[in-house]
């Protein structure tokens, strides 16, 4: 019983570290998992082909899923300690997987199999939880607003300048919706995303959670935020939630039904793929700001790479991670699809296509709004974020009131944080 409990707790002792007799030319098969769409899958396929030019004996079996399903699958695998060797990883789950020793301690592999020269001290620190490096950032991104300029022009409405107040943004969305005549809307209700709530809090100098993992917002603040959503939806400026559900898993923006969307700045290639067009009509601009001069935005790892602690081939996995993170070849393949590369050697390989240039320009343009990054997300943050999204959806459908939604969110959050 005690040994079973230890096994469940993942207390398997210190990691063994790299094998002294590892031969990169010995036949090895690795599993690689990532989230994304067909566009990204094509990039990975090309990158793996280039990796195999260097390491022909390392076979890489890659699989991909949309983001929510990707994590559901990982959670099931984590339960059985059967995670894929190499994973694209999300910041929201880093603490949970690291604390439970599901990820390989990368320290013995850094410098030897994974080059670190291209990273700064701070970017290397992103993947450190409780003093252990369990992941390395692929790229960085920031919260942003995408606008579909081609669609805006088509409706005849004027362009959104970016960085206005939320009220001005709502007015602009209303103008687009009016010009769109019921088939195009200005945007999606921004109160459905926890990141918009987060930047509102950060405008007041707070984060969602403090260093100890305690929430830094009250029920009244959340009720006020969701109440604003009701006002915007009431004007007809945003796409009806029912319509959004019809086009899911595409977003309203990806389906060409809305002219703006607040999201992470590396989502452009996905949108271009969804829209079935080149990205030339997409523009990146600063999100609305709650208080002028606020340091509400921040750079976070767009995604990371981690190796499973259960991997039978940690050295080969480390070589693959090194290639995907540092090589110029991979940089040339991915561009900024996975965020603005964190490794300078990777970035050197990136041929800045117009969309990548827009991301670079955008992150430069918001320098004055960038504040310190919040603490590494609490364990269960992924579930909290999803609950927020679902309640936002229900508010849009009118199946819950703001008060009910706030109560449900706090009850759920309390349970998750106690877990």
């Amino acid at each position: 019983m005690a040994s079973a409990a230890l096994l469940l707790a993942g207390c398997g002792g210190e990691p063994a570290g790299p094998s002294a007799d590892f031969d990169p030319n010995a036949p090895v098969t690795l599993d690689l998992a990532f989230w994304g769409n067909d566009t990204r899958a094509g990039f990975y396929k090309n990158a793996i082909a280039k990796f195999n030019e260097k390491y022909p004996k390392i076979t890489v079996n890659s699989t991909f899923l949309p983001f929510p399903e990707f994590w559901e699958k990982r959670q099931i695998e984590a339960a059985g300690r059967d995670l894929p060797d190499v994973m694209q990883f999300d910041y929201a789950y880093l603490r949970q997987y690291s604390q439970n020793r599901l990820l390989l301690d990368l320290k013995p592999y850094l410098g030897k199999y994974i080059k670190t020269d291209g990273f700064t001290e701070s970017t290397l620190g992103i993947g450190v939880v409780n003093g252990v490096t369990t992941a390395l950032p692929i790229g960085t991104n920031a919260w942003a607003m995408f606008t579909n300029t081609a669609l805006v022009t088509k409706t005849g409405a004027g362009a959104y300048p970016g960085g206005t107040s939320w009220d001005e943004y709502a007015t602009w969305m209303g103008a687009v919706a009016k010009a769109g005549g019921g088939s195009v809307w200005g945007g999606t209700d921004p109160t459905g995303r926890i990141q918009n709530f987060e930047i509102s809090l950060r405008a007041d100098g707070k984060n969602l959670f403090d260093d100890a993992g305690a929430p830094q917002f009250t029920k009244a603040e959340l009720a006020e935020f969701w109440g604003r959503g009701a006002q915007v939806r009431g004007t007809g400026a945003t796409i009806p939630t029912k319509r959004l559900l019809e086009v899911a898993p595409k977003s309203g923006f990806g389906a060409g039904l809305t002219t703006s969307e607040l999201t992470w700045d590396n989502f452009g290639a996905g949108y271009a793929g969804d829209l079935g067009a080149d990205a030339s009509g997409l523009a990146l601009t600063a999100p609305p700001v709650t208080k002028a001069g606020a340091k509400d935005l921040y750079l976070k790892p767009s995604m990371l790479h981690a190796i499973a602690a259960n991997s039978e081939h940690p050295e080969a996995s480390a070589l693959l991670v090194d290639f995907l993170l540092n090589s110029q070849e991979a940089g040339a393949v991915f561009g900024t699809n996975r965020g603005l590369p964190a490794s300078s050697t990777h970035l050197a390989g990136v041929k800045l296509d117009p969309l990548s240039q827009k991301i670079l320009d955008y992150e430069t343009s918001i320098k004055d709004r960038l504040g310190a990054a919040p603490p590494v997300p609490v364990v269960g943050y992924g579930s909290i974020e999803e609950k927020f999204r679902q309640l936002g959806e229900e508010l849009g459908l009118g199946t819950v009131t703001v008060e009910q939604a706030v109560d449900q969110f706090f009850s759920e959050m309390d349970t998750i944080l106690k877990k």
Binding site: L8, A78, L397
Partner: protein, 268 residues
């Protein structure tokens, strides 16, 4: 099952050892989790509406097939096929596309002057859409009904006809009583089956149970609690509540069956 029962009384996130919470999960379920109550409600709605409609459709088609002699084999296979493929992922995807805002169902209804909009994102139409999907898969109970109908002695119909009974009277006074054991069997089986709805709801709602939790059937909710939120103890507790509810419903059915199910040779 013993492990699952134990876990139902614990807080267990898979990564850490289970922590005993007594009846905490059950108390939370009924006092502090409106989503659970709503899931239970939509599941019961689906079971109570979907099962009788499915059985009625199965019986109607079985009666039709029982009355024809030419091509019955072909029609039997044709009607049975959906129950083989109905639970597949591909059918759920097709269903979603068919009932979407610009899908063929909506377009056809518009031609008839009915403006419903899409069903997929409509809180009022989501369950009817799922019921249509399950009713479409009536093949399995239909085959069982058909087998039961073949067992009804023709002399009974002849005697009823001689007594002046019309088709409706013969149906209620001969077919239904003689078929009652088969009806009971199908009812029990399909009720339990309806409680297990998962795959199609998962696909159609993109795993979220949308719109507004109307497709968040209890199995889907349990899955999300367990594997998305890693609340395995809570999910186990839900599983046991579902098991008990299904067992109670089955027990009620067995108890009431004594008054309406007729078995040949029964002296009552």
């Amino acid at each position: 099952m013993a492990v699952s029962l134990y876990l139902a009384f614990t807080r267990y996130d898979i990564f850490n050892p289970p922590e005993w919470v007594g009846f905490g999960n059950f108390v939370r379920m009924f006092t502090d989790d409106p989503v659970f109550l709503r899931s239970a409600q939509v599941t019961l709605e689906y079971v109570l509406l979907g099962t009788p409609v499915k059985l009625a459709a199965a019986l109607a088609v079985a009666l039709l097939l029982n009355s024809i002699t030419r091509g019955s084999g072909f029609f039997r296979s044709a009607f049975y096929t959906p129950s083989l493929i109905g639970a597949s992922v591909s059918v759920a995807i097709v269903w979603r596309a068919m009932f979407a805002g610009d899908g063929p169902v909506d377009s056809s209804l518009q031609v008839l002057g009915v403006e419903l909009g899409g069903w997929v994102g409509d809180v009022d139409l989501a369950i009817p859409m799922m019921i249509i999907l399950v009713v479409w898969q009536f093949g399995a109970p239909m085959v069982i009904f058909l087998a039961g109908l073949k067992q009804v002695p023709t002399e009974l119909y002849e005697a009823a006809q001689v007594d002046g009974a019309g088709p409706v009277h013969r149906f209620w006074k001969v077919t239904v009583p003689m078929l009652s054991p088969v009806i009971f069997f199908n009812l029990l089986l399909e009720t339990i089956h309806a409680f297990q709805v998962f795959g199609s709801a998962f696909i159609i709602s993109n795993g979220s149970g949308a719109p507004g939790g109307r497709l968040n059937f209890i199995t889907l909710y349990m899955y999300k609690r367990g594997f998305a939120d890693m609340q395995m103890g809570y999910a186990a507790a839900i599983a046991w509540v579902v098991l008990v509810v299904v067992a109670i419903i089955a027990a009620i059915m067995f108890r009431t069956a004594r008054s309406w199910v007729y078995y040949a040779g029964d002296n009552r």
